[in-house]
Symmetry: C2
């Protein structure tokens, strides 16, 4: 495949940037891939494993001459980084980011973007519970969604070029406006993460009472929660602070709903619980049909489990 960009600059060298580099390299999508990270240790590791073609010690040098610049730093750092690179961006370049929140990133970055640079905010719905320069892999974006939230008036040609790069890395591209993005993600990602963190925190208190049995006997449900709660603390701190409004809205709905179920348990209302649990099962089916997961029983964790039909299916 012909290169889509001549020189791609990755700012931040964690899971997402590293995976982008490996995916672009695999498919020959960039003439040259340059990387910068604030931490000298991260830069050293990236050099050691050859994560990008060239690691620079200066952020200005990284973005100079790049026709695509990718901000892959925590959401709370986007504004500062944008301010630092702004004077060094090439006219006609495209600037994108991979942050999990879009309104706050646009507010922080847009004021610094020169008139002749195309700013196209983005968010790949992909990740693992690991982070850092060694955690990336070329297949991370395959069959995943990559949402773009270009502000009104963005050059359609620049958007299409970026979308072409993303599709060539294996992802599906969709456009939506930033407030809508933030609401959808509050529901599907941000609030579930906060809840998982909370439950793992509760277990931690109880653990002191029961001498590590909580860890030893962690069943499937809790194991999934701990995987979620093992995600990068800095990234998630910023997500919650930067998508505050939507997360607080969904948290409010969640607590209401939880109290209704809690009351049903207290009152012994089995019919209500059964009806509720039957309905949530159907949503799972929708997710499998939407191709976002398989029906292989993950709780079996590769013990030769068949993807058999469910009792209700």
């Amino acid at each position: 495949m012909a290169a889509v960009y001549d020189r791609v600059a990755l700012i931040g060298l964690g899971l997402i940037a590293g995976s982008m580099s490996l995916a672009m390299r695999e498919a020959g999508l960039a003439g040259e891939i340059v990387g910068y990270a604030r931490s000298p240790e991260t830069r050293d590791t990236a050099r050691e494993i050859g994560l990008v073609d060239h690691v620079t010690d200066s952020i200005a040098e990284a973005v100079s001459g790049a026709d695509l610049v990718v901000l892959a730093v925590p959401v709370g750092a986007m504004g500062v980084v944008a301010e630092q690179i702004a004077p060094h961006l090439m006219p006609g370049a495209t600037l994108t980011d991979v942050g999990s929140v879009k309104q706050a990133v646009i507010e922080a970055v847009l004021p610094h973007v020169p008139q002749d640079v195309h700013f196209i905010p983005g968010h790949p719905l992909a990740g693992t519970e690991h982070s850092g320069p060694r955690s990336g892999f070329a297949g991370l974006f395959r069959q995943r969604w990559w949402l773009l939230t270009p502000p009104e008036g963005t050059d359609p040609g620049a958007v299409e070029r970026l979308a072409g790069l993303i599709r060539a890395m294996g992802a599906n591209v969709e456009q939506m406006d930033a407030p809508h993005h933030d609401l959808v993600l509050a529901v599907t990602s941000h609030t579930p993460h906060l809840i998982a963190y909370t439950m793992v925190g509760v277990a931690d208190h109880i653990k002191r009472i029961t001498e590590s049995e909580v860890v030893k006997y962690s069943a499937a449900g809790f194991r999934d929660f701990t995987r979620i709660a093992a995600s990068d603390p800095t990234m998630w701190r910023d997500v919650f602070l930067q998508n505050k409004e939507a997360v607080l809205d969904i948290l409010g709905r969640f607590t209401e709903e939880l109290f209704v179920l809690q009351r049903a348990i207290r009152m012994g209302d089995g019919a209500h619980l059964h009806e509720y649990f039957t309905r949530t099962r159907a949503i799972r089916r929708g997710i499998i049909e939407a191709g976002q997961d398989t029906s292989a029983p993950d709780f079996g964790r590769g013990q030769g489990a068949p993807a058999g039909p469910r009792k209700d299916g």
Copy 2:
């Protein structure tokens, strides 16, 4: 391996009983495996796929002459089933169950158990989000815990014989008292399940506003929640009703803790959030060290992700 029991009767032919049958057959642990299920459709399916050696249409016939009887029905049905089988149990037989709650099962079953029958309540910490006679597989219990909560005065020889069968199916056996079991499971399994159900229910409401985008863009965290929330509704209804006290206790702690995090988000207290998320990450490490999960990044879902070190590791 020599058979541990001459005739094993499985009452209920869902995921757990089916997996037990396949595991016992694979290792030659039972002379004969007989099965019964209340639903004629389940019995037909079990016959069709040869899940057990013999499916009976009468529960009395199933348990007659069995030296091991396994109650593998929803927790709320244990008492009724125990009452039905009690007159047909063989003197000296062992009666066990696989329910996720232990105190309520003991209260419901023990009054019906004849003096000359060994009642040894049990709980395999294993399962998938699938259910029904086709969902079982021989490896389900491998490397998993199987908790036994024998009442005081239970014959140690009978306990050791049952533990031997369980170990031969690949599981690790541990004994504890029933109230302690119910507390530990409320933390590691029951409450996380309720929370996942609730979050999926909230998403279901929002879905109506955003036209299925919630399903389409479900990120890793939410996908794990939907997998949990896809579990068998009847089983879980009974778990919450039968382990009411412990679940309500843990739910109370959970809501307190969630409100503290919610307040930190509202107040913009990033330090508190970061400290909290860093602590929960350590718990995940404990679970991996306890051998209950691997460090392979599951969010990558078999896309060739390396089990690389984490940024904090």
